[in-house]
């Protein structure tokens, strides 16, 4: 191939460049950006291979790298045909940068690929533009004296098209912001769009003004906007995990510094600059490497913790599900047991009543023991059913008019034998005439009876048990105090838990750990509350409050 040299040009770099005619800042401005773009493109493609947004990002970075390479030929190419070709081809990467930026913006924010119609439309624009490449509409003439192209009318339209692309990117961001409320996503969007439009605007302005004023030095500041954009992208990679790549900020810092400092070598006019640059380069390399290592370690640790947390969450969800299934099963089993136990009780009653023939003394004794065991078993099954209902949130209340005087008398009758047996000092403090109110008899009785039997059970012989009941503003306030063993401090937070028993009574007093759990569920199910105060070795006081509704008075029929 026989190429013609530009006037006075001497190829002294890589056989095609005349480095002597380069303006002082040319290589300093373009070379680091070129390296950065290629590195970024390679890194993203390697780490986030296959993701749509990374493909469009690759489109921007590679187009800019090609654009820079062509501009370098324009500035310091030694052969006129090569320089002319660079002027002609520049059109294509320039608009590819803007089109890729639009698609990148869309896929980055909306996290899905753009429609094929838009993609084909973009390819149509690129095809139409590529047809203009060899024509004079693109590069009108070649100025031999300055060894540069004279742009044709196509470029005016290209600048307008590029401006439209910037507007589209802003529009995409605004549309996304309208649908997104999360603060993190909004910050991400604003940061991303600012970086991208900043880069494109600087790039556009430097090209446009360089072209219109024929002051091509302005061109040198064009790609510098890419520094900020890539900086923002790398920050977002670490902060928001955009792209599936890590440890980027530190790597980019090192490479940018390295590129900038290495490019200083091309500035010939400053004395001894090489020594300064080489020393700085060595320092940056050492500190940069250690920075990369530390960031890598930190990110790896963070990822490990996140993985463990995710595993833990899955395990926790599984445990919750198993617990729920277990409660359901317990409910079903208890329900199935309840029927035969009731049948056994009825049969035993019939047996003891003599309906099935007369029993001798020995047989009666045995039958009574069996009835007592059946009653205990029925109570336990009933308790398990209640636990299951509370656990599953299926507690069903059946409020009915309840004479509170009768109600408390029944409970006290039940515990009286134990009080007498243990020689306890029992104190009762309640109004003489308690009202008749609407309450669920079974659950209310279960609660108060549980508190009372616990107080008697855990108080040593000769101790004191006190029941205080008041009705204030339609709420029953109650208190059950004992001078028993008390609840250890470390158990107090868990004492209302299912099947939990205080450590100081676990092995000495019988119990199943359901009582307080059911009492709490029953009281809260009726809109009340229960709490306690306790000192180990001195005793416990349980407080409860139950809202009461007085039934409507019965109007006698006339």
């Amino acid at each position: 191939m026989n190429l013609s040299l530009c006037p006075d040009a001497v190829p002294n770099l890589l056989m095609v460049f005349d480095i002597a005619i380069a303006p002082p800042l040319l290589l300093y401005s373009y070379v680091p950006i070129f390296i950065l773009c290629v590195f970024f493109a390679w890194f993203i493609a390697k780490n986030d291979y296959g993701s749509i947004q990374s493909k469009y990002f690759l489109g921007i970075t590679l187009s800019l790298a090609i654009w820079i390479a062509l501009v370098l030929f324009q500035w310091i190419g030694a052969y006129l045909e090569v320089v002319h070709l660079a002027w002609q081809l520049l059109l294509l990467p320039e608009i590819t940068i803007f089109i890729s930026a639009c698609f990148f913006s869309f896929t980055f924010l909306f996290k899905r690929d753009a429609s094929n119609i838009y993609k084909n439309f973009s390819l149509l624009i690129l095809a139409a533009v590529s047809l203009l490449l060899p024509t004079q509409v693109n590069i009108n003439m070649f100025d031999l004296v300055n060894c540069e192209g004279v742009v044709g009318p196509a470029w005016r339209w290209i600048y307008i098209f590029e401006l439209i692309c910037i507007v589209i990117i802003v529009f995409i961001a605004l549309r996304y912001l309208r649908t997104e409320d999360g603060r993190k996503e909004r910050v991400k969007t604003v940061l991303f769009t600012t970086g991208l439009t900043y880069f494109l605007s600087i790039f556009w302005a430097s090209n446009y003004f360089a072209e219109t004023t024929k002051t091509y030095e302005i061109n040198l500041i064009g790609p510098i906007g890419m520094f900020l954009f890539l900086g923002i992208i790398s920050y977002m990679m670490v902060k928001f995990r955009v792209f599936k790549a890590k440890l980027f900020a530190s790597q980019i810092l090192v490479i940018v510094l390295w590129g900038l400092i290495a490019a200083l070598l091309f500035i010939q006019s400053i004395d001894y600059i090489h020594i300064v640059v080489l020393c700085t380069l060595a320092l940056v390399s050492i500190f940069g490497l250690s920075l990369i290592k530390s960031v890598k370690r930190e990110i790896e640790q963070r990822e490990k913790i996140e993985l463990l947390a995710a595993d833990l969450k899955i395990a926790n969800d599984q445990l919750h599900e198993l617990d729920r299934q277990k409660d359901e099963l317990l409910g079903i089993v208890a329900h199935q047991l309840a029927k035969p136990i009731t049948a056994i009780r009825w049969d035993l009653e019939s047996l003891l009543d003599g309906d099935l023939g007369t029993l001798n003394e020995k047989q009666q004794e045995e039958a009574k023991t069996m009835r007592s065991q059946a009653v205990n078993l029925a109570d336990l099954v009933s308790m398990i059913l209640d636990v299951s209902r509370i656990q599953l949130g299926k507690i069903k209340l059946e409020p009915q008019p309840l004479d509170m005087n009768e109600f408390f008398k029944d409970i006290l009758d039940v515990i009286e034998p134990s009080v007498k047996q243990k020689k306890l000092n029992f104190v009762k403090d309640m109004p003489k005439n308690l009202p008749t109110v609407l309450l669920d008899k079974r659950y209310t009785r279960m609660t108060i009876e549980n508190l009372m039997t616990n107080a008697v059970k855990y108080t040593p012989d000769g101790g004191k048990v006190e029941l205080v009941v008041k009705v204030v503003d339609g709420v029953m306030h109650g208190r059950v105090t004992d001078t028993g063993c008390g609840i250890p401090k470390e158990d107090q937070g868990k004492i209302f838990g299912k099947m939990y028993r205080a450590t100081n009574v676990r092995n000495t007093v019988d119990g199943n750990g359901f009582g307080l759990y059911v009492a709490k569920g029953a009281i809260e199910g009726q809109g009340g509350k229960i709490w306690f105060e306790s000192t180990e070795g001195k005793g416990t006081t349980f407080f409860f409050e139950i809202p009461m509704i007085e039934p409507a008075p019965v109007v006698p029929k006339t």
Binding site: E81, Q88, N116, I117, L123, L124, P134, F142, V145
Partner: protein, 42 residues
Amino acid sequence: MKNIEKILAILFLGVITTAVAFTFYNTLINKNIVIIQSEDSI
């Protein structure tokens, strides 16, 4: 529909590649360049 979209995309890419190749040929081999001296330009 998808096939038409694919065919169109391949067609456009083909046009772009051909145009770029032709630009290389036209400028480097054919040397079809309108050359002026600075003084000639308006």
